[in-house]
Assembly symmetry: C2
Homo-oligomer: 332 residues x 2
C-alpha cells in the first residue's frame, strides 16, 4: 500500500463557469430547464452566450469545486480533469493550483476548447446550467495517476463523468484502484437529468462500487424512481455504507453504517447564487470523513461550506473554510 498522502482524489469535468444574471423569462425564451444542467454543443454555446448579459468567468466543475473546497478546509487534494492549452484552460489550471490542489493532467493540444458552463442566475439565487463539454470529453484512463488514487483516503467522482465516453472508463479504473488499495470510493449523482440519463448504471455503481454516495432530494428520488424521500432513504441504506442526502434549506440527512442522522442547514443572510452548494457540501463531508470525524460533524462541515458558496457568485470558496470551521467550534 502506498504511503498515505492525500485526503481526497477527485475526477471530474474541468470547466470554467460563465455566470450572468437572468430572469425566468430568459430561461423560458431559451428553453433552459430551471435548476438543471443541460449539455450543449459549440453552436448552441455561441448562440446562448450571445444572448446572455455581462458575465464573469470563474473556475468551476462540480468535482473540481469540491476538491478546491477540501484544500480550503486545510486538506490535501488532487484533481484529474482535461482542459485544452487555451486561455480558459490556463485560468482553470491557475485557480485550482492556487488553492494548493495537485493538478497535473496534461492539457489537450488540439481539438475542442476548454469546457464552459453558461450559468444563468435568477433573482431567487437559483442557477440553471448549459454546459459545453469541449476538451473535458478527452479525459481517459491514461490521464489518471494511479499512485495518487491509491494514496488517497477517498476517491471522489461526479456523475457527470458518465457523459464523456472515455471518462467512464477512467472512473471505473479509479474505483478499482482505490478499492484494491483499501480506500473509499465516493460518487455524487450530480443532477437529476444526469440520473435520468444513466439510472441503471448509477444504481449498479451505488450497490457495487460506491462506499459514500452524495445526492440531493430530486436526484435520490430519481435514482430509485420513488416519490417519497423516506423510501429512497431505506433503499440507499441497503446499498451504501455512507450516504449524504442534501435538501437545500431543509439541511441534510446522513446514512452512516445503517444509522440515520439529520443535520440542519447553516443559515445564510442573503442567498446570491446557489452554484456549488452541493459541491461544497461534499467538500466538508469528505474532508471530515477523511480526518476520521463522526458523521454529524462531517454533515455540519458540509453545511458550513455550502453556506459560504451560496453567499456569493461562483462555486469556489472565497473565504478560508478552515477559519470558518474553527469559528464555529468545529475542530479540524
Amino acid at each position: 500500500m502506498s504511503e498515505l498522502r492525500y485526503d481526497v482524489a477527485g475526477i471530474g469535468n474541468a470547466i470554467v463557469d460563465v455566470i450572468a444574471e437572468a430572469d425566468d423569462a430568459f430561461l423560458i425564451a431559451n428553453g433552459i430547464a430551471k435548476g438543471g444542467m443541460s449539455l450543449i454543443d459549440d453552436d448552441r454555446a455561441a448562440e446562448l452566450y450571445g444572448k446572455m448579459g455581462q458575465a464573469i468567468e470563474i473556475s468551476g466543475g462540480s468535482c473540481a469545486n469540491t476538491i478546491a473546497g477540501i484544500a480550503s478546509l486545510g486538506g490535501k487534494g488532487a484533481f484529474f480533469g482535461k482542459v485544452r492549452n487555451d486561455q480558459l484552460g490556463e485560468v482553470f489550471t491557475h485557480d485550482i493550483r492556487s488553492q494548493g490542489v495537485t493538478f497535473d493532467t496534461i492539457p489537450a493540444v488540439s481539438g475542442p476548447s476548454t469546457a464552459r458552463c453558461l450559468i444563468a442566475v435568477t433573482p431567487d439565487g437559483q442557477r440553471s446550467m448549459s454546459t459545453y463539454l469541449g476538451a473535458a470529453q478527452a479525459l481517459s484512463p491514461a490521464d489518471l495517476d494511479l499512485e495518487i488514487i491509491a494514496a488517497s483516503t477517498i476517491t471522489y467522482m461526479e456523475g457527470y463523468l458518465w457523459d464523456p465516453v472515455e471518462a467512464k472508463e477512467a472512473f471505473l479504473l479509479a474505483a478499482k484502484t482505490a478499492r484494491e488499495a483499501g480506500r473509499l470510493v465516493s460518487l455524487s449523482l450530480s443532477d437529476s437529468f444526469c440520473v435520468a440519463r444513466y439510472r441503471d448504471e448509477f444504481r449498479r455503481l451505488a450497490r457495487d462500487e460506491v462506499d459514500l454516495l452524495f445526492a440531493n432530494e430530486s436526484e435520490i428520488l430519481s435514482l430509485y424512481e420513488v416519490d417519497i424521500f423516506d423510501e429512497a432513504l431505506t433503499r440507499v441504506k441497503a446499498d451504501c455504507k455512507f450516504a449524504a442526502l442534501t435538501r437545500s434549506e431543509a439541511g441534510s440527512v446522513i446514512v452512516a453504517n445503517g444509522e440515520v442522522h439529520v443535520i440542519a442547514a447553516e443559515k445564510v443572510p442573503h442567498v446570491v447564487d446557489t452554484t456549488g452548494a452541493g459541491d461544497l457540501y461534499a467538500a466538508g463531508f469528505l474532508y471530515g470523513l477523511s480526518r476520521g470525524k463522526d458523521p454529524v460533524t462531517c454533515g455540519r462541515l458540509g453545511s458550513l461550506a455550502a453556506a459560504e458558496a451560496i453567499s456569493h457568485y461562483g462555486a469556489r470558496p472565497l473565504k478560508s473554510l478552515a477559519e470558518l470551521a474553527r469559528a464555529k467550534g468545529l475542530a479540524l
Copy 2:
C-alpha cells in the same frame, strides 16, 4: 454635420481584468505599488499570475468601463479598442456588446494576446493593478470610425492611451474630428504614474484639446506639480471649460464655465473593491452632460455610478444605473 446618434464615443485599452484578493504583504513581496497601475510584460504577467490566488475574470479597461456605464444609464455609447481573436477577446467583446455598446473594432489575428490587468484587491477595498497591454497596443488611427466620432456628443479618452504608441495618434485624430464636428473632447488622466510619465503632453492636451477633464486628487496635483488641491483647481479652471475632480469618500469638485461646485460622495455600506470608481464616476458625469443636465446633477450621477461599482468585485455595473438614478430622484 452627421446626424446625432451617440452620447459618448470612447477610445481606450480593451482589457480583461483578473481579480484576486491579496494582502499588503503580497504587494510588498511582489513590488506592486498600492493603488497604482504598472505596465508589465508577458513574462512578468505569467510570474505574477502564478503567485496570485483564485481569481475571477471580468471585462474591464478604464474607458470601456465608462462606456458600459453610460449604456447602463440608458445612454448610447460606442467604444474603440483592440483585442485579439482569442478567448479573452471574445469575453471582452461579448460583455461590452451585451450592455448595448457599439463595439466593432476588428480584432488582431496575430501578435500578442488580449490585454489583461492583474488586480490585487486588499481587505481595505483598494486595488493595485499590473497591466499586460498585449493586443491593446495595436490600436491605430485606422481602427477609428470617424463618422461615429463626429456623431457623438462627447468623445472620451483615457490617459492610458499614451502608453501604446499608435493609440496616441488615434487619440489626436479623434480629438480633431470631434472638434471639427463641433463636439466636446474629454480626457481622464487615468493614474498618477501615468501623469508622471506624460506630464508635459497632458498639460498641453488639457490646455489645447480638452473641454472636459477627469482626474482624481493625486493625478491633478501631479499634473500641475502642486501640493495643494486648491492651487490645482485654479490651474484647471484656466485650462478647461469643464473638469471633474474626484476625491474618493470626500466626493468630487466640479469646474463648469469658471464656476466651482462641491458634490458629496454617495454612501456605500461596504466597500468591496474600488476598481472602476473613477471610470463609473466619469460615466455618470458624461451621460448627464450629454443629456444637457446641470453640473451638479452630472456630479451626482457620477457619485451614484461610482458607489455601485465599488460595492462589488469588478468595475462594470451589475445593477441598472438608470434604475438607481430614478430611485434617487435623478430624472434622466
